[in-house]
Each structure stands twice: as structure tokens, then as C-alpha cells.
Symmetry: C2
Subunit: 257 residues, 2 copies
């Protein structure tokens, strides 16, 4: 569907199809080669970038809406999304911003149009191994792209604030929940796992301390196999013990990185 | 205002005044004499209990709405409320439940009435010293009451689930944020602080370990004053160093209780 046609359809059926006042926005963080990246969509007219977001069908759970929006917008599927914050300030909804865009689309809407109302948005985040993702062409953005979180573009509306809050939440959660499944290859070294933690926390961790702690949570299985092609002493490969990993996800622990 | 009049007014102006689809529910936890209690409102016809909740004005920040609802419903003011979760399942909104109540009120509403729509609710929680609270008579409930969290009544709709999620969240946050301000008297002993932690965590903590950790966070000031009327050796009184306490609130630490 062409972009303009998609927008016209959304504007005409949105009020009937979706819960009023509510939207979802997804912070999709990708990890690859010790870089943390975020998936952003380019605005259709300006060089500003947005989180993948959308609306909630009237009979749809909010969590399912976030998952669907992500699938529709990016082709990503079966990702564990987690709600992390509600952005509920009235000022975040900027009517003029949307009116200007729609004028460029050649579309006029009434002052009381559904799309111009105030939206409270539910922030969701997910972590993925970003090299595994095939981005789909998206109907409402010129393109989607992974951006290094240390080198970000200008954002649309309050989306930078939503991203920052997601990363802050993730860093805190790292202190009481395991992380890494879906982000690392099936078999990995402890150094690769440490790199992931260091990248998310944005700080260096003591190697011996990290290894002692992470092993003590008993979420890892050391394989009878060593990493090849590494200079000097080859390190052992590990994998997650998924049962214990999920158990730790639910019960939590206290790492204090 | 009499209860019935209040309800009629809400029903007639609600659609105009409030954001559609969204509500707030407040989990107010009170601590007193080593007991953790929750503030609940009795349903106007049944012996089931509800969290104080309400709606969001069209131009009101969601956080401010939670604060206002709490003030209106309970007389509590200037409490630090924190959003902790969105409850977004369609099944949580039960039309028949409200239709039945309104019939008993002698009020008939149309099938498409605002009050019968689906509501996504934002859960907020707060901690207070409950002996300091003067509960106000409430317009829509027969009475409000503190309930021990180990001895709870039957709940309205999904409110038990909301309470459980709040307590779960609080226990996790206790591991990386200080707690106690607003909950303890200005001067307190380390044993009183430990009792608070033990009550929230619902488990015993090792005394020496607790004291060493809590002192290491440097959020406390030991006063040159001892607790009186205590058998055996009188313990020192402490107070919070509010600047450092707030600093720890923002930056977090890693306790791992």
C-alpha cells in the first residue's frame, strides 16, 4: 500500500477501530559486536526519527498491540516486549505537528479529528540480536534504520525521552534479572556475555568479579567445547540453561553490577 | 454530596470531562508497628473491596490525576505516588458488573455509555505512615479501611492482581532504592528501619548484615541521642540525610537483601 493511501485509511477508520487516547511506542534495542543500537523510523518529510509506534484495537490487549505494531512496522516477530513506562503528559501530544504533516500529505482534517486528540503512550522495550533482523519496508516511514545509542539523530516529539527512559529501566533491571538470551549466539564465551553487560551498562566490569557472579546465578551451562580462532588460550563456550534462566527472570536475583 | 447524586453527576459529565479508555488505580500501602497495610474502599452494595481509583481530566497529566484521585477519595495529600504497571487486558472491564450496580442505584444507561467502555488502568503505588492519615468520608464507597496484607478481603474485579503487582514491584525496588522516608518517625533506630524492610520483604534479615549495608549507603545520620524506654542497652537514634537519600533514589544502589 502506498504511504498516502495508508494514511488516508488510518485517518478514516482509526476512530472506529482503535481505543481512543492510547498508543504504544516500542524501543527496540539491538546488540551486535559490542554495540547497542536502537531501531528508528525516519519521518516521511523531515530528517527526524521516531520509535515504531501505533494504536490499540478496541478488543486487543495492550501487550498484543505492541507486538503487532512491531511486526507490522518492522517485520520483527516473537520478540519479548516489556512495558516499562506510561508517558502521560498532555504536552506530548502536539496537534500542530500532525496538522503540518497532513497538509503536506494533501489531507485536511477537522479540529476534532481522532488523530489530533491527546494520546497517552505506553512504552515497551525489547532486546534483539540485530544482525538477525530483516527490516521490512514500512508504510508510513521513508525507511527504518539501526542507530548507535552513542550517535543518535534528532527525534520526533518526545521519542528521545522515551528511549532514555527505556535504557535507564534496562540498566536497573540488569541488576536483578538475567539478560542475554535472544541477544547472543546459542554458544558464547563469558567474555562475550561480559561485553553485552558492559555495553548496556556503558561501563567496564572487573573480569573476575563478573565471572564469579554470573556463574553463581546458575543460569549458564559450560559446554565441553572451546571457542576456535581466538588468540592465546581458547575460552570455553557456554549456553543458557533456559529453565533456570526463566526461573531467575521470574524470581530475580541481586547482582549489583 | 450524597452517593447517588455523585454517581449521576459522574455519569452525565464523565464523557465530556475525562480522557476516554483510561483510568488510574492507587495502591496505598501503610506501615505502622511492623505491619504493612493497604487502603481499600468498600463497594457500595457488596462486601468486596476496591483500590481508590478514578479518571483523568482531558488536560491533566496522568500522574496528577492519580494524586487528585487519591486526595478526593481518601483525603491523603502530597504523597509520592509512583506508576508501576499498565493493566491492559480487555477482560478486566466487565460491563455486566457496572450495569448491575447501576440498576441497584436506580440508574439505566445505554449500551454505549461512556462508563461501560473498556478501560485500561494505570497502577500507582505509594507508601505512607498510616497512623498519620485521617481518612475522609468517601462519596462512592460505604467506607475506607486499612487491611493487613496478610489478611485481605475479597476484591472487586482485578484489584487483587493490581495490589499483588504493586507489592512485587516494591520488593524489587527495595533492592536498588532507599525506603523509609515518610514511613518512619523523624528519628528512628536501626532496628525500626530493619523492621520496615523485613515487613515489606516479608522475611527476616540478618541484623549485622543489614546494619552494615544500610550504613554503607551513607543515607543515614547517626544522632547524638539514644532511644529511651528500651530494655537493656539503649540504641542510637538515626535520621535520614535527605540530600543523600534523594541522591540514592535517583542513582540507585545495589543492596540485594
Amino acid at each position: 500500500m502506498a504511504m498516502n493511501e495508508y494514511i488516508r485509511q488510518l485517518l478514516s477508520s482509526g476512530e472506529h477501530d482503535f481505543l481512543p487516547s492510547l498508543s504504544v511506542d516500542c524501543v527496540i534495542l539491538g546488540f551486535h559486536e559490542n554495540q547497542l543500537k536502537v531501531l528508528l523510523l525516519k519521518h516521511r518529510y523531515m530528517d527526524i526519527w521516531a520509535l515504531p509506534g501505533g494504536f490499540i484495537y478496541k478488543d486487543e490487549p495492550t501487550d498484543a498491540a505492541a507486538m503487532r505494531v512491531l511486526r507490522e512496522r518492522t517485520g520483527l516477530n516473537e520478540i519479548f516486549l516489556r512495558q516499562f513506562y506510561i508517558f502521560g503528559e498532555p504536552e506530548r501530544s502536539q496537534r500542530e505537528f500532525h496538522i503540518r504533516d497532513l497538509e503536506k500529505d494533501g489531507i485536511n482534517v477537522n479540529d476534532d479529528h481522532w488523530i489530533l486528540q491527546r494520546f497517552v503512550t505506553i512504552g515497551y522495550y525489547a532486546l534483539v540480536e540485530f544482525s538477525k533482523v530483516n527490516l521490512l519496508p514500512y508504510t508510513i516511514a521513508e525507511k527504518s534504520m539501526w542507530w548507535d545509542i552513542h550517535d543518535l539523530p534528532e527525534f520526533m516529539l518526545d521519542h528521545r525521552k522515551i528511549l532514555d527512559k527505556a535504557i535507564e529501566t534496562l540498566r536497573i533491571q540488569l541488576n536483578y534479572q538475567p539478560i542475554g538470551y535472544n541477544l547472543l549466539p546459542e554458544k558464547f564465551t563469558l567474555t562475550e556475555l561480559q561485553n553485552l553487560y558492559e555495553t548496556i551498562l556503558d561501563k567496564n566490569l572487573d573480569r573476575r568479579n563478573f565471572q564469579r557472579k554470573i556463574i553463581s546465578y546458575q543460569i549458564l551451562r559450560r559446554l565441553n567445547e572451546k571457542k576456535k580462532g581466538v588468540p592465546h588460550k581458547s575460552p570455553y563456550l557456554h549456553s543458557f540453561d533456559i529453565e533456570k534462566y526463566n526461573d531467575a527472570l521470574n524470581k530475580g536475583f541481586n547482582a549489583g553490577w
